[in-house]
C-alpha cells in the first residue's frame, strides 16, 4: 500500500442477514486529510468504521488500514487508530479522569505518562474543573468532549469520528470543529469524519464520500461534487421592484426552476449552470431592469439533496 494512503478498501461488503449494510465499498483515503463520510442514519457509516478497525469481519472484499489488515492484525492496527463512537460509550459510574486513565492503560500508554497526558487532554477539552466528578453527571457536550479526549489518549495516527457533534450546542460543536482542524492542520493526523451534518462536512473536509444504503454514490471535494451535479442551486437576482412579478412568472416557466422572494431579492433554485445566461437574456428581453445577478456556488447540502433527487428520478 502507498505510504501516502491512510487506508484503502476494495469491494468491502458486510451483510447482516438479508440486509446489506456496506455494499462493495471501494475507497482510498490519503494520509493527513479530513475525509467526510456522509449519509443518513443507517447508511452504513458505523459499520464501515467497525470493518476498518477489525471489530467486525467483512462478508467479502478487503481493506488495508495504515498498511495493516484489520481482521488479521486488529490489535496492532487499533493501537494506531482512535475511535469516537456514535454514543460516547463512557463508563458513567467512573469519573472523567478514571475513564481516561483506564483507556490510557488499555491503549498501552506508559504508566509514567498517563497522569500528564490525562491532565493535558482535560485542559484542552475544558474539563479539568470536573475531572473528578462521575461522567454520568456530565452534560451531553461534556460527555462528547470526554469521549473525544479518550479517542486521542494514545495519540492515534488515524482518527474515526462518528457523528462528533451530534446533539451538541453550537459552542461545544465549535470546540470540536476547532479540535478537528487542529488535529489535521497542526498535527497532520488523518480524520475520517462520519456525519450527516452537511455544513460540518463542507467546513471541515478536504474530500467527502456520500453513502446511501451502504453504496458509495459520490466521491470528491465538496466543489467537485457540486460541479458533478452540474447545477447552480441558487441564483440571486436584484431587479426593479415593479418587475419582480414578471421575473417570478418568467422563472417559473423555465424548466426545473423555482423562484421566490427572499430578503429583498429574488432567489431562483434548480437552474442549470449552463442555462443561466439564457435565463438572464430572456429576462432582459422582457424589459426587466436587472441590477444584479449572483449565481451562488452549490453548497454540499444542495449537492447532497440533488444527488438524492437524481437517484429518486433514476429509480
Amino acid at each position: 500500500m502507498n505510504s501516502d494512503l491512510a487506508f484503502v478498501t476494495d469491494g468491502l461488503t458486510r451483510h447482516f442477514g438479508e440486509v446489506v449494510a456496506v455494499d462493495h465499498l471501494t475507497l482510498e483515503v490519503q494520509a493527513g486529510e479530513v475525509f467526510g463520510f456522509l449519509g443518513h442514519n443507517g447508511a452504513g457509516k458505523t459499520t464501515t468504521v467497525r470493518l476498518l478497525n477489525g471489530v467486525l469481519a467483512p462478508t467479502s472484499g478487503t481493506a488495508q488500514v495504515l498498511g495493516l489488515a484489520p481482521m488479521e492484525q486488529g490489535p496492532a492496527l487499533r493501537r494506531r487508530t482512535g475511535v469516537l463512537t456514535e454514543t460516547p460509550s463512557l463508563d458513567e459510574r467512573l469519573t472523567g479522569r478514571e475513564n481516561l486513565e483506564i483507556y490510557a492503560m488499555l491503549y498501552g500508554v506508559p504508566r509514567r505518562e498517563i497522569a500528564a497526558r490525562v491532565k493535558e487532554l482535560m485542559e484542552v477539552f475544558q474539563l479539568e474543573d470536573r475531572a473528578d466528578e462521575k461522567a454520568g453527571d456530565y452534560s451531553k457536550g461534556m460527555k462528547q468532549r470526554l469521549a473525544l479526549a479518550r479517542a486521542l489518549i494514545h495519540r492515534p495516527e488515524l482518527l474515526f469520528l462518528d457523528e462528533p457533534t451530534s446533539g451538541l450546542d453550537p459552542v461545544a460543536a465549535r470546540l470540536v470543529h476547532d479540535m478537528i482542524t487542529h488535529l489535521s492542520h497542526e498535527e497532520e493526523r488523518t480524520v475520517f469524519l462520519c456525519t450527516h451534518n452537511l455544513d460540518e462536512a463542507q467546513k471541515l473536509c478536504d474530500r467527502v464520500a456520500v453513502l446511501e444504503h451502504g453504496k458509495l454514490v459520490a466521491l470528491g471535494t465538496p466543489a467537485e461534487l457540486a460541479a458533478k451535479v452540474g447545477r447552480s442551486q441558487r441564483l440571486e437576482l436584484e431587479v426593479a421592484r415593479d418587475d419582480e412579478e414578471t421575473v417570478l412568472r418568467l422563472l417559473a416557466e423555465a424548466p426545473g426552476v423555482s423562484a421566490h422572494r427572499e430578503n429583498g431579492t429574488i432567489v431562483a433554485a434548480g437552474a442549470e449552470w449552463a442555462a443561466i445566461p439564457g435565463l438572464v437574456t430572456s429576462l432582459a428581453s422582457a424589459g426587466v431592469r436587472i441590477y444584479r445577478v449572483a449565481p451562488q456556488e452549490a453548497s454540499l447540502e444542495d449537492t447532497y439533496f440533488a444527488l438524492q433527487h437524481e437517484k429518486e428520478e433514476m429509480s
Partner: protein, 269 residues
C-alpha cells in the same frame, strides 16, 4: 499477552461494580449473613442442641451429628456445634464465591452492553483472548478475595461462637482448608465461566444474573445432599469435588475461548 491491558479491564470492572449499589450491597450482605450471622446463631443454638442431644438421642439431627467422622471424644453440645459450624456451613460457604462471581460476571458483558460501554472496549488494541481473560479475571479475583477473606473472617467467628462450648480453638479443620484453598477458587471459576458464556449472549444484567442463578442451584444441591446426610464432606470428598469443578472450569474456558469473538459481540450492539 498484554497484562497491562488486562489489569485495566479488571480495575475498570471492579470499580464499576462497586459504584452500583444494587449490585454491591447484595455482594457485601451475603458474606456477612453467611459468615457472621450464622455462627452467631450457632453460639445461641449450641447449648440448646447440646441439651437436645443429651435428652433426645433418637432425633435425626442428633443421630446424624453422632455419625460424623472425627467427632470421637466430643460431648453432645460440642458435637452439635461442630456439626453446625464445620459440616452444615461447608456448602453454604461455597455459595459465597458463587454469588460474587455471578454478580461480577453478569455485569461484565451484559452490563456493558446495557450501559452501551462495550463498543469503546472493542476498539481497544486487546486481542479477543486478552479481552475474555480480563473479563474472567475481573469476576474471578473478587470472588477469590471474598472466599479467602471470608474464610479468615469465618475462622475468627466460628472460634468465637464455639468458645463457650468448645473451650479451645477448633477451626479450621483440614476439610475446611481444602475447601477454601482448592475448592472455592474452582467454584468461583465455575460461576465466572458459565456467566461469561451466558452474559455475552444476554442483553441485560438482570437477564444474565437470573440465568447465572443456575450455578448457585448446583451449590444448593450440594448443601441439600450434605444436610440430608446423603453426602458428608470429608477431606477426600472435598478434594475430589474440587478436581471435578476444576475440570468443568477448564472445559468452560476452552468453549469460552473458542466461541468468543469481538466481531460476534459487535453484531449484538
Amino acid at each position: 499477552m498484554n497484562g497491562y491491558a488486562m489489569q485495566a479491564i479488571v480495575r475498570k470492572d471492579i470499580k464499576v461494580v462497586f459504584q452500583n449499589k444494587g449490585v454491591s450491597i447484595p455482594l457485601i450482605a451475603a458474606p456477612l449473613v453467611i459468615l457472621v450471622a450464622l455462627p452467631a446463631m450457632a453460639f445461641f443454638l449450641g447449648p440448646t442442641l447440646g441439651g437436645m442431644a443429651a435428652t433426645d438421642s433418637g432425633s435425626a439431627i442428633v443421630r446424624m451429628a453422632a455419625g460424623l467422622p472425627g467427632l470421637a471424644g466430643y460431648d453432645g453440645a460440642q458435637m452439635m456445634v461442630v456439626y453446625l459450624l464445620v459440616y452444615m456451613m461447608a456448602a453454604l460457604y461455597l455459595l459465597l464465591p458463587t454469588i460474587v462471581a455471578v454478580g461480577f460476571a453478569a455485569d461484565s458483558f451484559a452490563g456493558e452492553k446495557e450501559r452501551k460501554t462495550l463498543e469503546a472496549l472493542l476498539y481497544t488494541p486487546t486481542t479477543d483472548w486478552e479481552l475474555l481473560l480480563g473479563k474472567l479475571l475481573s469476576a474471578w479475583l473478587p470472588a477469590l478475595g471474598v472466599a479467602w477473606g471470608g474464610f479468615l473472617l469465618y475462622t475468627v467467628m466460628a472460634n468465637l461462637a464455639a468458645w463457650p462450648v468448645m473451650g479451645r480453638l477448633f477451626f479450621p479443620t483440614t476439610m475446611w482448608v481444602i475447601l477454601a484453598v482448592w475448592v472455592a477458587p474452582a467454584v468461583a471459576g465455575l460461576g465466572v465461566g458459565a456467566m461469561v458464556l451466558i452474559s455475552s449472549r444476554a442483553r441485560t444484567y438482570q437477564e444474565a444474573y437470573q440465568l447465572g442463578g443456575m450455578v448457585a442451584v448446583l451449590i444448593v444441591g450440594l448443601l441439600v445432599l450434605q444436610v440430608s446426610g446423603v453426602m458428608i464432606f470429608s477431606p477426600w470428598l472435598v478434594a475430589l469435588l474440587g478436581l471435578l469443578f476444576w475440570a468443568i472450569d477448564a472445559a468452560l474456558l476452552w468453549f469460552g475461548r473458542r466461541g468468543f469473538r469481538r466481531s460476534k459481540l459487535a453484531t449484538q450492539m
